[in-house]
Symmetry: D2
Subunit: 343 residues, 4 copies
């Protein structure tokens, strides 16, 4: 069989490195061009020393010429840079964007949260949403979901869809630092991160807020109000999302669990834990799995669900490969794993 | 001046060690008996190697005979053990309990969350609550608040008291591991904790839930519903509490901040950060300070407040010393600091 | 093709979990019996939540009956327990011991460092040593090397074998905590580990000392004196070994690097980094790779080499699978990777 | 009593912040001007949020005009910047330099390791060295030792001075990240640091090498050869130095311990642990204490000593305050503590 030839634009960053880690494990893929920005011309070995088989590969400039001639192009670029490049790549190339450019349907939300002109909307790469897997099969353009929206959406979707809760959810998501990328900023220094927990983007100002709202609102008539607070905690990878909402009616913990178990029964990568066992991020480190648990707080009359994801794996690169598989007509799970790296 | 002679029961644990660190810095205190359980007979140097000046002190049994003859006895014992010992100590001894035994007013809440008979209710050691400072002046018995209730209460109290929010709050609090104590349990091993975030006590089952409810409900007519979820994140110390509730009326971020700034203007240890600056636990490590910030999420129509505390310091031992100062008629801040250890 | 049926004794510990993570990724293996000690009867999902595909498998007792009927039995048991079980398993079963029981050739060294009777000596599972790969091909018994000896030996072997250094080496190896296992001990609590670095087994008392001595001495006439100090540093996985020795003659940094590059040119899992790039443990996390670098300190007249390994992967489970492949006549690298999980 | 008025140049960095934390705890000090470079004009609260009492203080430019009129000026500036400023400050001002500019006696060593012209040599701020305390009493210029040299020197000095070891020492020192400062560099990002251990400056190239050599060589006739390797491990603070050297004669572990205990018997800040107890950095976090232990490896015929220090405290700011106390004729320990912050 002919292998699928893929390029990765933005190969020196965390998302790019994780894409390559995934692609190296994919049996049907041949890794073609790798591009960087300020790192173009450097060997990958000094930038991503964990990717031993690619140590001698040299980064190229992110140009149409370099990216042409591949079956699949992954874009792992800063927000706003995917649009212009994607526009140049023909429809015979599958383009999978790990950035935010094509995730939102609402241009005004894009402008309010990201600024600048909205590039458009592509099929949204979350096959676990109703009807979404079909849209991704054979797609030539895919917008990979954001990391926080991935875990927040999957942790709340069954409750929202089944009408167990009122459409006003609270999400507090504790994240590792790799989601903030590899650009050196003082507040992301190891000295600032270790022994420290902090909140940021409080009050609905984080850019992933409209994406979570979009995903959950699509499950109901009307809008789901989302109160989203991201936290930075001292770990490199992983997001733990604690999600809750007022009960819409009397719901027992058992009913809630059954609703979730049923919703995800056929999903290869969403794992509803047995009752009483709560998700931890370590269990999904490096894997494409999402671990979810749900219960009901009788006294507070709220449903509480917790989800864990690896922000770089299922939260970015794993989802990207899962979508590539669907786009190419491969088995959805090819090259992916549900097995985390623990401890 | 005669120094106050203090004993610490439970000197080998984390709360006991932190009490001693604080007491060693207190100019008016002389450290008397130190007791342990299974560690009785051992020198403190092997158990608390950071407390160099006490390295040669030997732990004694936790008995009335050992604890008698001190002006102040601090109890840092497992829940349920303070009651019997406290009953034997006379009213001429100030007894400050760092455990939960005497925190709750509602015997049925005690029985539901802790089991066994309720030992009683002592003056609650949170001087920042309305009228509470006066109760603690000259008190001979003090129940030191729990670590989660300390930060959750102080982060929400101004909003609750001012009627800015509906009485249904959501608290998600990310904690370091020292709050779980020094008893060796597999899920608290370093290998399990590092690179990992997890939730526990989900659905209102954590024992600190009724204490938070008690504190906030005392500020209003009626009951405040509390949805509380604690998280374990990879750091030794610190709690970051993300708290939110539906707005009771139109409230701007500015009004919310002013309400908080005014409420804590005269408090020596609660520091409302300037607008736009959010709390981080590192800033309060080892200190008696609480850092708080608040805003309003217009889209979700919720007030969101975040607080940071060191669970062992202001969350336990610092509050205990603050209360001792009040009980003895000393300046409330003697031996305490607002300066954290960072980075 | 018929899959190789394997059993894992000690499946609830860290070595056992890592063996299963590796075996799940192995294309030619079918996972048979899994055993535990106090955990027998429990489903694996609660003990190793990262191993989703095995969540419903129930641990059995570690008995001959349970372990019989497998092509390969991996033993991941406390030291001293492998001998009795191995003795019962026939030579038609490949037995791969991840414990220390069969590593040492010198019975007196065993008795001095481990106590009790020496169980014997099996083929030593480090194919990178001269002549060792041949011994492992078709072997039915393999003693998997210790984690510290793996990285110490591979980091020093080329210099020792080429006579670049005097036979008196100093090894200081900083290790993550998973090497200490999953048994709950107070000094391994997260609160004790984070923000902390400590030394233990100082002065040549660590049990891995004679194993390092044995490996290096086999490369020369006579004995290599080994000063070995292990450190515990705040990470779950990984060992970074800093190794040095007096130069035996004038050696340039270039010659040292060439010696290493040549020694490992054909090794699939030992990666000598380009000059100037130093190993870091993150690069090998979860992988079977060892990263090595070497230089010469002209002023101190010492060769200094640094090696990085994942103690659970190449340091235990990866080496075990590598040896199984050799024992079974499979390609040595089947199911293994050189790609680390970073960041 | 009139308080000593002090200025801190470089108040926004880690050394500057730690100086201020120490100075705020000093009873005889009044904090005057605070200066920054690119941060001049900003309030300290946003840069050092843990220093609550100074939150509203605004950083000024680092000029003679700003620094004049203080009794003591602390310089916490990048290497090479202290010389020009110090030259302008009169001898009636005590100048304490936390940088490297004035530590080395050998101008050629300065040029080889730092580049540029050597600024000169000031009294070296390590009162624990023979005769050094006297030099510091009443001094108007003090060069604060480097963090690695502090712990390496104090861990080896008694063995060197007593002639227990050959003059060829090996030091491997595992450090937290704060020693690398607050300037944002990609390899110091939290994502790169957590779960990672790495070596740098291998082969005698680290700038602290000549300083360690200078200190140890002063204790003997001739030169002590120093093989120094620094490691970066995932913690914010602390250095653990593992030091060893060949025995010069038969030495028992007991004799070694007695030699150390005697050498430091009168030192307020160097604490030789009881036999069998090994240093850990957590015990000295935030304190001015150094913990040391020593033993003998009979088989390798080496003395092995381990020391722990907080690089920012006794390794920088604590030593600076200790030296200020000596310079001003105050009690040496004023405002300093031997009590660490643990866990």
């Amino acid at each position: 069989m002919t292998r699928t030839r893929v390029a990765v634009a933005g190969a020196s960053g965390y998302a790019g490195g994780e894409l390559l880690r995934h692609l190296l494990a994919h049996p049907d893929v041949e890794i073609g061009a790798l591009t960087g920005a300020s790192n173009a011309g450097q060997p990958l070995g000094g930038l991503q020393p964990h990717l031993v088989p690619l140590a001698d590969r040299v980064l190229e400039e992110t140009t149409l010429e370099v990216l042409s001639g591949h079956d699949v192009v992954f874009l792992a670029l800063p927000h706003g840079q995917s649009g212009p490049i994607a526009a140049q790549l023909g429809d015979d190339t599958v383009v999978i964007d790990c950035g935010a450019d094509f995730r939102l349907q609402d241009a005004s939300a894009w402008e309010a949260f990201y600024g600048g002109e909205h590039a458009g909307t592509w099929p949204y790469g979350m096959p676990e949403l109703p009807g979404q897997r079909e849209q991704l099969r054979g797609a030539t353009r895919v917008a990979v979901p954001g990391c926080y929206p991935t875990v927040s959406t999957l942790t709340l979707a069954p409750a929202v869809a089944a009408g167990l809760i009122e459409p006003e959810v609270v999400v507090v998501a504790a994240s590792g630092t790799s989601g903030a990328g590899k650009a050196a900023k003082p507040h992301l220094l190891g000295s600032e991160i270790m022994g420290n927990a902090s909140a940021y983007g409080v009050g609905g100002t984080h850019r992933h807020t409209p994406e979570i709202t979009q995903n959950l609102s699509a499950l109901v008539d009307g809008t789901v109000a989302v109160s989203f607070t991201p936290l930075l905690v001292p770990m490199s990878r992983g997001i733990l999302a604690t999600c809750s909402a007022p009960l819409a009616r009397d719901v027992s913990a058992e009913e809630a669990h059954e609703t979730y178990a049923k919703a995800y029964a056929d999903e290869p990568f969403v794992h509803v834990l047995p009752p009483g066992q709560w998700p931890q991020t370590q269990s999904v480190t490096g894997s494409n799995a999402v671990h979810v648990q749900v219960t009901v707080d009788e006294a507070a009359r709220r449903l509480v669900a917790v989800g864990a994801v690896d922000n770089l794996a299922k939260g970015t690169a794993g989802a990207a490969v899962q979508c590539m598989n669907l786009a190419l007509g491969l088995d959805e799970g090819t090259g992916l794993t549900t097995i985390g790296l623990a401890p």
